[in-house]
Amino acid sequence: MKTKIAIFIAALMFFAPFSFAEEAAMTENDTFVVYLDKGARENHYIPSGHMGDYGDIKMNDQSLDNPHSGSSCIQFVYSAKASQGNSWAGVYWLFPANNWGAKKGGFDLTGMTKLTFWARGQKGGEVIQKFGVGGVGIDKDVPYPDSTVVESQPIELTDAWKQYTINLAGEDLSYINGGFFWTTSADLNPEGATFYLDDIQFEADPEIKPEEKKSQAMPFYVYSDRGAISNHFIPSGWMPATGSRDIKYNQSHKENPYLGDTCIQLSYYDNSGTRWAGIYWQHPANNWGIQDAGFDLSAAKKLTFWARGDKGAERIEEFKVGGIMGESSDSDSTSIGPVMLNKEWTQYTIDLAGKDMSYIIGGFAWATNVDVNPEGVTFYLDEIKYE
């Protein structure tokens, strides 16, 4: 018996320092710092996960150029050159460096209710597609995926420091390996963007309440112009898996847009032999119902869009809203089609009367096939919006 007690005490002594240290980091503090200054002892995570066109990103994490506080801030220069051909880029703060979920490195941030950070653009007007927390390995087959992901809406920076907050109240923060991230794209910043970040930290603010999902105000744009901050949903759901071989997508087509500076040009040709293809506009990108991120579009009575064919008589089998079914599913779906396009811009309407639009991940979609377009098809879309 004594031996057992001795083993128990020894085990307690062995494990205790680790667990106590972790507790101290997690709960006794009301802040958990990602970045204060270069080399600050309080810093956690490493901005090592460069994504997309990583060649387009230059980072200086000890910039002396007018930090918000302390001695330094982080400068990012995004060139938008699409060095790797993606037209987007971003950076994840990970721990340990470059850990995409293969190793156990995340922190238990239970108790934190928000993440705050300061940001400014060099000129003002730089658009960051999203800032966020978590999400590492969440839909991947990795041993240590993050317990949640929370993302901001697109943010247009000003040339003066401004504090931003990501509400984390009610989120499962029990394992966060991706402490912070940002992504943006060439469409949102055709000339590139230089911006600065400082004082990034989690905070335990007892006053903050979980964000209630509110009905979006109308009109609610899917696409108005290239890079418009009012755009929602990302045309990321290329269908089927071979879609990228069959579809060409250009959301910056400048010739004869219906309104504004640009429209979307789409070309389909059955290179893969799959015989059909289409694109879903999703929120966020590539969300096939894995992430709980639907917009409440209950106020929408219809979705309208303008379309034209390159030659006229192009046949699109279906234009659709909603219909994504996954761990989180769209609340409804409806469609029109087949539609024979005109050579001139024509407005089409998807009637939403009586539809449950309270939760929409798949904001818009189209699909067609080789049987009705044996020679392929080129068509244009513009001004896609919920009203």
Binding site: D141, P240, A241, T242, W288, G289, I290, R315, E317, I324, M325, G326, E327, S329, D330, S331, D332, S333, I336, G337, P338, V339, M340, G354, D356, N369, D371, V372
Partner: protein, 430 residues
């Protein structure tokens, strides 16, 4: 005095007797009327309540359809297999397993020309296990070169076949209802089994062509339903449909359809299915084909947890939308899972060598079944792995040995005690 007393007594007795007679009459009358009404009700009928809630009755008792699609093709067989002519009588051991699971209904997509065999199967399942049969008809959907639903001769051919079969089996106690068509509506777009007519050809706009196909087909099905009811008023007639597509057109031309029998593959949730049907075609719904496969095409291994996860969630929603469950729509009558046993022939149906191989290649893609959607080319639906009962090459009682999967046991618990199971928090497959 005595006599007067006696007279009074007699009068009193007579009065009392009349009173008793009146009371008895008043008691018996409603019972008699009820008995007449009950007797006059069809053997199987659907009752409609307020707010378009529906309940199925069989022999005047509420009946929830807890069913499976039944086409027990043995290893090495193919679509030509005819269970009704199988000398090994697999339904005897299958029915026993089904009953133990809590299954009360099987769905046959199509009955064969072996009339006595069909009757034997229906009778055995009902008499031995209390399992009733839903009898379907493809309506010649797979007719070569195409099902010409706009052609009067073709309609007559289908009509004669359907009505003769109804005549043959309508008096079988085990018959639950008739299903006309399956997913024939997918032909409206011209992509599957395309058919046309002069009227359709004269229309240049594709969307209107589809509308005309839908109207032609549904009108024909409604005519069939009307004629079935003339010869068999004892059973409801269902319209078989893939998803809810074009049921708004059926709503215009199908007053004689009693219920909708839908094929739905939406993953873990049926979404707005029940509300949407109520809005577009207000009829009760039986999910006559739904389910999940048990092979993870991404991990390339059998994944019974994945199948169980989807099936339990699907059954929970069926349960929630039955009559009497206030939080649901009350327009669901139950469902038949696709399917009872795996079918090893399906992936390469024209390669006989593969009918004896349990093929692990997926045949189609469906993002709603998201656990393995990252398989190559997103192909994640393994057509040969939909059974809640697996097959072994080993024979037992002359048939491939049945190996119930996890889903069989999980659903067994659920079907026997659905309210308790609804509260259970499901574990997601890893």
């Amino acid at each position: 005095m005595k006599s007067g007393h006696t007279k009074h007594k007699k009068h009193k007795k007579t009065h009392s007797s009349k009173k008793i007679n009146l009371i008895a009459f008043l008691i018996i009358l409603p019972i008699a009327i009820a008995a007449i009404i009950i007797q006059s009700r069809p053997r199987v009928y659907i009752k409609k309540y307020k707010d378009s809630r529906y309940q199925l009755f069989v022999r005047n008792r509420p009946y929830i359809i807890k069913g499976v699609c039944y086409n027990p093709v043995p290893i090495g067989g193919n679509h030509e297999y005819d269970v009704f002519s199988d000398p090994e009588k697999p339904w005897i051991s299958d029915g026993k397993l089904m009953k133990e699971m809590g299954i009360n209904t099987v769905r046959f997509y199509q009955v064969s020309d072996n009339t006595e065999g069909v009757k034997e199967v229906i009778r055995d399942l009902y008499r031995l296990y209390g399992i009733r049969s839903i009898l379907g008809d493809w309506l010649c959907f797979w007719e070569y070169p195409c099902p010409r639903y706009g052609d009067e001769d073709f309609q007559e051919q289908v009509r004669q076949r359907v009505l003769s079969r109804v005549n043959l089996y309508k008096d079988e106690e085990g018959v639950l209802f008739w299903v006309l068509g399956n997913e024939n509506n997918y032909s409206f777009s011209g992509q599957v089994n395309p058919w046309t007519s002069t009227e359709i050809e004269e229309e240049s706009e594709p969307a209107k062509q589809i509308y005309l196909r839908a109207k032609t087909y549904y009108s024909f099905v409604n005519q069939l339903a009307r004629e079935i009811k003339e010869i068999d008023p004892e059973h409801p007639v269902a319209l078989g449909n893939g998803e809810l597509l074009w049921l708004d057109v059926a709503n215009e031309v199908c007053p004689d359809i009693d219920l909708v029998a839908c094929i739905i593959y939406r993953g873990k949730s049926f979404g707005n299915l029940f509300q949407s049907l109520k809005r577009n075609f207000d009829r009760p719904l039986v999910l006559t084909e739904f389910g999940a496969d048990s092979y993870n095409a991404y991990k390339k291994e059998e994944d019974q947890d994945m199948q169980t996860y989807f099936l339990e969630l699907q059954w929970q929603q069926i349960q929630k939308n039955l009559y009497g469950n206030k939080e649901g729509e009350g327009n669901c009558l139950g469902g038949t899972i696709f399917e009872w046993t795996d079918e090893w022939w399906k992936h390469n149906e024209y390669l006989q060598d593969t009918w004896s191989i349990h093929d692990t290649d997926a045949g189609w893609s469906n993002g709603s079944y998201y656990f393995d959607i990252r398989a190559k080319n997103n192909m994640n639906m393994n057509e040969e792995w939909f059974g809640i009962v697996g097959l072994s090459e080993e024979l037992e009682d002359g048939i491939n040995k049945r190996i119930p999967r996890k889903s069989y046991y999980a659903l067994s618990e659920f079907l026997k005690n659905p309210k308790k199971k609804l509260k259970t928090k499901l574990q997601k497959p890893k």
